[in-house]
Symmetry: C2
Subunit: 238 residues, 2 copies
C-alpha cells in the first residue's frame, strides 16, 4: 500500500505536468493570436505569420509547440503546410480563459472600458437573437474583418465593412437602422471598436456575442440537429 501511495504521487505528478503543459501553450500572446486565426479555418504558415505579424520562423516554432501539445495538426498541400485545430474544445478553453480574466482581473475590465471610449457598451446580441432579427430583416449585419478573411467564410447576409471603411457604410444606412457587428471572435476588438465608432455617430449598433467561429460552431450543431440557423434558409422558412 505504501508502494501504491508512492505510485499515486508519481502518477499525479505526471498528470499535473501534462495539464501544466497544456496551460503553458496558452500563456504566450503570439500563440493566442495563432489560435484565433486557426479558429477561423485552416491556414498556412506564411498566412499565419502575416496575420499575427510574427516572423515566419517564430510562427513555425509556435506552431510546433502547439502540435506537440496536440492542439493543432498539419497536412501538406504542395509546398505549403496547412495547420488546423484538432479540437473545437480548444476554443472553449480560450473563451473560458477570457471569462476568468474578465471576472478576476480589473485591468481587463479597464481595457474593455477603454475600447468603448467612455460610452457604456450595450449588451451583445446573442446568436439566436441575430438569427431571428435577420429573418425579420430588421437588422444590418456587418463583418468587420479584413476582406480576405471575409472571403474565406462569413455569416450569410453579412456585409463586409473593414474598420477603415466604416464611413463608407453610412450613406446607405437609414437613420434608424439597427446594426450588429462581428469579427474574429471573443479575442478580437474590431467589433468593439466598430460599435463604439457607430454609436458615436448616433447609430444603434451592437456587438454579436462571439464571432464568426462561434457562429459557425452553432450552425454546425443546428444542422446536425436537423434544424436551421442559416439566415438565408430561415428567411424562406419564416
Amino acid at each position: 500500500m505504501v508502494q501504491e501511495l508512492a505510485m499515486s504521487t508519481s502518477y499525479k505528478a505526471a498528470l499535473l505536468a501534462e495539464y501544466a503543459l497544456v496551460a503553458q501553450v496558452f500563456s504566450a500572446p503570439g500563440r493566442l493570436m495563432i489560435l484565433e486565426q486557426l479558429a477561423q479555418g485552416e491556414r498556412g504558415v506564411d498566412t499565419l505569420a502575416e496575420k499575427t505579424s510574427l516572423s515566419v520562423a517564430n510562427c513555425s516554432q509556435h506552431l510546433q509547440q502547439l502540435r506537440r501539445a496536440g492542439l493543432v495538426t498539419s497536412r501538406r498541400d504542395g509546398k505549403a503546410v496547412i495547420y488546423r485545430l484538432t479540437d473545437a474544445k480548444t476554443l472553449d478553453l480560450m473563451d473560458l480563459i477570457r471569462i476568468v480574466a474578465e471576472r478576476n482581473r480589473a485591468q481587463v475590465a479597464q481595457i474593455l472600458r477603454g475600447l468603448s471610449d467612455g460610452m457604456d457598451a450595450p449588451e451583445p446580441v446573442s446568436r439566436a437573437d441575430l438569427a431571428a432579427r435577420l429573418a425579420d430583416g430588421t437588422v444590418t449585419l456587418i463583418d468587420v474583418r479584413p476582406a480576405d478573411e471575409f472571403a474565406a467564410g462569413h455569416i450569410p447576409g453579412a456585409l463586409n465593412v473593414p474598420l477603415s471603411e466604416l464611413e463608407c457604410l453610412l450613406p446607405d444606412l437609414p437613420p434608424d437602422a439597427q446594426v450588429v457587428a462581428y469579427c474574429r471572435g471573443p479575442y478580437c476588438v474590431y467589433a468593439h471598436q466598430a460599435v463604439t465608432a457607430l454609436r458615436k455617430l448616433g447609430i444603434d449598433a451592437r456587438r454579436l456575442e462571439g464571432g464568426f467561429p462561434e457562429w459557425r460552431e452553432d450552425a454546425v450543431k443546428c444542422l446536425r440537429d436537423g434544424r436551421l440557423l442559416n439566415p438565408d434558409a430561415a428567411q424562406h422558412a419564416v
Copy 2:
C-alpha cells in the same frame, strides 16, 4: 482611422497579454496543486505547503502570483493568513484544461490507463445518479481523502476511508455491495486508485464524477433553486 487601427492593435496586445498571464498561472504543477487544495476550502499557507509538499516560502510566492492574477484573495486570522479562491469559475477552467489535455494528448490517456492498472475502468457515476442511489440506500459512498480534509467537509452519508485503510473497509462490506469513491476532484487520483484496488478484489466499485468541490458547487446551486440534493434530506423526501 489609422490612429484607431493603431489603438486597436495596442488594445489587443494588452488584452492578449492579460489572457496569457491568466493561462500562465495554470502552467506550473505547484500552482495547480495549490488550486486543488483551495478548491476544497480556504487554507492557510503552512497547510497548503504541507499538503503540496512545497516549501513555505515557495508556496507563499506561488500564492502571490495567484493573487496578482486575481484568482485568490487572502484574509488574516490571528497570525495566520488564509487564502481562498475568488471565483468558482477558476475550477471550471482547471477542469477544461484537464478535458482538453485528455482529448488531445495521448500521454494523458496513457497515464490514466496506467492508473486502472490494466483493468478497464467503468464510467464514472454522475452526481445526480449518486443522489438517487444514496436515497435508495443501494450504494456505499466512500471519501478517499486524508482524514483532516474529510473533517473539513464531506458529502453527507460518506465514509472516510483513506487509501491506506482500504482493507479495513472490506469486512463490513456485503459481497454484492456497490461502492462509489470520490476524492478531491478531477485532478486527484485517489478515487481512481481506490476503484482499481477494490475491483481487483471483485467489488463493484465506481468513481464519482468530479470530487468534493464539484459536489458542493452542485449542492449550492440546487439549494439556490429551492430543490434539495442533500442526500440526508432526500432520504426523507423520498
